[in-house]
């Protein structure tokens, strides 16, 4: 570092700001990816089928795909309403 940098080092470098912001947004967009395109539609269909039998909330069905080595696992969680 040259001695002039001493006077300049106060400001936060814009490149490190860019890197931080990119790391956050890229990580978020990657988790939404890989996800098959049909998942939201599948989730909606399953919700409708369950509703033929039980009254459940809109967010009662949670669905996600996890990758374990070569195989993919479709995980389905249905929250039933508490019985009184």
């Amino acid at each position: 570092m040259g001695f002039l940098d001493y006077f300049r080092s106060e400001k936060k470098r814009s490149a490190s700001l860019a890197k931080e912001r990119l790391q956050v947004i890229v990580a978020r967009e990657r988790t939404n990816r890989g996800g098959a395109d049909y998942l939201p539609a599948l989730q909606q269909d399953i919700l409708e089928v369950i509703r033929r039998y039980i009254a459940v909330d809109d967010d009662a069905v949670r669905i996600q795909v996890e990758r374990e080595g070569d195989c993919e696992v479709l995980e389905l969680n249905v929250t039933l309403p508490e019985t009184e």
Binding site: F3, A15, A18, K19, L22, Q23, V26
Partner: protein
């Protein structure tokens, strides 16, 4: 059987066509029969960058529609032996490129060439999808700038899911990072993402860094692939890049700024 290489980026204006022209010319200069295919239907520009715009008679879509055969549409480069280009059509019909049409043209090109370089349009629509679909390798062109890096990451996601290799469960498309418009002096001042930052965020292998250079505009003004301008920094950077792609080990140049006497005095 040729290797199919897509030059892609997501974002526009980052240097895909400049890279396609330089890369194609470099491969041909190394002795490989190479064809560069312009996939940017409606916005043909590869012909201009390669200086053969006045020799375009038939185009990619004419071949797909059976209005011309491949040999009528291919333009042989006058400077480099073994280099050809297949120009895009200027039609406004977005569906002019059909999946089957592209597949059959690429198959035919693959039989008579060693490398087929596909110059992708910007975006992630049909043209970009078809340009990457049949690829074996991808050059992902990225500027050291937030929107370009983000779009490149998006494109990497598509390369690993929406390509023939991905769909058929074959070995994935080999991805290479090409950083262009790199200004080492600004990186030094902390004003620009460094090559290391970009590699870390995208986590793919770096093939080459092309410095921001007046040579690129000069070469495009003249219709000469910048790799032919052997005395320029950008030309040398592309020459290194092609050599690395072909398996040669070459150190990265142009990663640090050239300091004059004045700069050295003040920066130590």
């Amino acid at each position: 059987m040729a290797r199919i290489v897509v030059v892609t980026s997501g974002k526009g204006g980052v240097g895909k066509t400049t890279t396609s022209a330089a890369f194609g010319a470099g491969l041909a200069r190394a002795g490989y029969r190479t064809v560069v295919v312009d996939f940017d239907v409606g916005l043909r520009n590869l012909d201009l960058i390669m200086g053969c715009e006045r020799r375009v008679v038939y185009d990619f879509v004419n071949v797909i529609n059976g209005e011309a055969n491949l040999n009528q549409a291919l333009i042989r480069d006058k400077r480099v032996e073994g280099l050809e280009i297949l120009p895009a059509s200027q039609t406004r019909d977005k569906d002019a490129l059909t999946f089957e049409g592209v597949e059959s043209v690429l198959n035919a090109l693959a039989e008579t060439h060693d490398y087929v370089v596909c110059d992708s349009p910007a975006g992630i629509e049909r043209g970009a999808h078809l340009a990457m679909y049949f690829a074996d390798d991808a050059l992902v062109v990225t500027n050291p700038e937030v929107s370009s890096v983000r779009d490149s990451d998006r494109v990497l996601g598509l390369l690993s899911s929406k390509t023939r290799r991905a769909e058929q469960g074959e070995e994935p498309v080999k991805e290479h990072l090409v950083v262009t418009r790199y200004a080492a002096s600004r990186v030094g001042k902390g004003e620009m993402l460094s090559m290391e930052d970009i590699c870390e965020i995208l986590s793919i292998d770096l093939l080459g860094v092309v410095p921001e250079s007046t040579a690129v505009l000069n070469a495009s003004n003249a219709g000469v692939p910048v790799i032919m301008e052997e005395k320029t920094d950008a030309g040398q950077a592309y020459d290194d890049l092609v050599a690395r792609y072909l398996g040669e080990e070459r150190e990265h140049r142009f990663l640090t700024e050239k300091k004059g006497l004045f700069g050295r005095l003040f920066k130590g």
